[in-house]
Symmetry: C2
Subunit: 332 residues, 2 copies
């Protein structure tokens, strides 16, 4: 069916090994004339390397497999992929994605992808969380992306949420804001850590948070949070401790806050500065005024993950925190 080295060898009147050397041998010693002639014939025949055959000797396919805990739905996931892909391609590796879901648990998916004999396997989460891997799988996972291994044995790349909370809070303080409220995302690891950074920054500046209010995650994502956030914001703005800045657990919350502020006629950023997390560009750039927010280091996570997976020996486990980037827009 497909063209093989043997076909080329026959046509060129040389042995298979000579063809192999000419096409893939790099700088193996060989007469230039021979090499060129063979390459030309291969080109004409439309030869395509058979990775499966090669992998029989090498032991693995030139693949990095990523097991995702969900389908790659978010724009964030896209950035992780981009980082992975760019970096892996430099080492002539392809990236292969699979997803847990339905009746396929991590063990089943792990076995499934193993049949392709990837060079390394990583695990990626859709949002920052802690993950408990079954021990027999954990040993073979080279890196965890956007999640932290509960056992601490697997190298884990996660966004530095706390640092981000710190940076954005300091940014608000630098902008002259003193009465800062935080509208958090309870139940989410990211929110918890962001809040910790927020409190630390205020503390260091000798300030007190005006308020730290919970939102309801499920409601936010179902689009039914409008009244809830509106109520919170209205209470805050009418209360005795009227904030001059509202830090939001993420950009989605910020979007609702914008709506709530508009309803009560408060100006952004003149009356109240607003800032968020995630740099969800669809939201952040389209809000009026555009939102100042902290950009997640997703591409960097992907890039670093690929580097780790390409390494001969996986590094020691432990958490690697990747810094967010402050994206200044007009809302502060």
């Amino acid at each position: 069916m497909a063209v093989s080295l043997q076909d080329i060898a026959s046509l060129a009147g040389v042995s298979v090994k000579t063809v192999s050397g000419a096409l893939h041998g790099g700088s193996a010693r060989m007469a230039d004339e021979t090499r060129d002639r063979i390459r030309k014939i291969a080109e004409e025949l439309g030869y395509v390397t058979n990775f499966a055959a090669r992998s029989m000797r090498q032991g693995w396919m030139p693949l990095i497999a990523i097991i995702g805990d969900e389908l790659l739905t978010s724009p964030f996931a896209t950035e992780i992929i981009r980082g992975l892909d760019n970096s892996a391609r430099k080492a002539d590796l392809s990236v292969f994605f699979t997803t847990i879901g339905g009746d396929r648990d991590i063990i089943k998916v792990y076995d499934d992808v193993s049949r392709f004999r990837p060079r390394a396997i990583g695990y990626a989460a859709m949002y920052h969380k802690e993950v408990v891997l079954p021990p027999e799988v954990a040993d073979r996972i080279g890196v965890m992306i956007n999640c932290r291994d509960a056992s601490g044995r697997v190298a884990s790349l996660v966004p530095d949420e706390e640092g981000a909370g710190n940076i954005i809070t300091n940014h608000l303080i630098d902008a002259g804001r003193r009465k800062i409220a935080f509208l958090n995302l309870p139940g989410l690891l990211a929110g918890e850590l962001r809040e910790r950074g927020f409190r630390a920054a205020l503390d260091e500046a000798g300030l007190e948070p005006v308020a730290v209010l919970p939102a309801v995650k499920r409601a936010i994502y179902a689009g039914r949070a409008r009244s809830l956030v509106a109520q919170h914001v209205a209470d805050l703005m009418a209360g005795p401790d009227r904030p001059d800045a509202i830090l939001c657990g993420n950009d989605r919350v910020a979007m609702e806050v914008y709506a709530a502020l508009r309803k009560i006629g408060a100006g952004i950023p003149d009356d109240v500065a607003v800032a968020g997390f995630d740099n969800q560009v669809d939201i952040a750039t389209r809000l009026d005024p555009p939102l100042t927010t902290m950009a997640l280091p997703h591409r960097a996570m992907g890039r670093m993950a690929a580097e780790i997976l390409q390494a001969a020996e996986p590094p020691e486990g432990g958490l690697k925190l990747l810094p967010f980037q402050l994206v200044e827009r007009a809302s502060v």
Copy 2:
């Protein structure tokens, strides 16, 4: 390194072929006792099939490759993947994605994925467009997803934009609207076809479009369309032919229309009904009131693509139109 059939055969005291039969042979004749014993040993040793080795005999890997024209950024792409994946898995096939981009053109990417010897290769576009494939590649592409092959030789699955324009327009007419404007997306194939369906439906009902206005695509996506759409809408609403319904080229445009209508104090749907295309849930469900729109048949396209790619012989070329689904919400 990894456990092989040979390892199991040695332990079980049988030949390799017997092990192969016991593990993969299906209903091949064999003593139940032997089969069970072998399976148990395989389980204990943690045997994992080596697809590369198997593919040496079969000629292909149990893979369906999809070449995308861009990275799978949109929520729509997710649905295509989901459909593909669900369907392919039923045939024990995995789905492998690659993307054109940077210095990698379609020919290069095609060669790259070919090295894995996938069973079939499909081509997917991020948005509905016409695509010209180099002839040497076109012959080996089994199906085009969300795009139409310019030559007409490759089977192409695309959304039935014209039908969708027809359905939603009829829906507006059925709701009693008679003065319907269309805010189109010029330069996009989808917009052109949607408009055609819109005009046909009006024509059939003996109505005239109140207006068909262009928006500027680049501006829409860059978030700078606000003033443009606002101007259009304001002109329309103040003009002599005040519409009682505005059909928008897509949900993003509808979002801008909402903002424009709010600014001039027009009520939705009481003063003006608004409808869109795409069912971009992030937008459609979060607007106030939620938007009536036509849902793209992305999952169906994925499912059908997988079915075509699994078929022994690719079907004849030609366009297959997949129907949108009307999603009624409160904006009509």
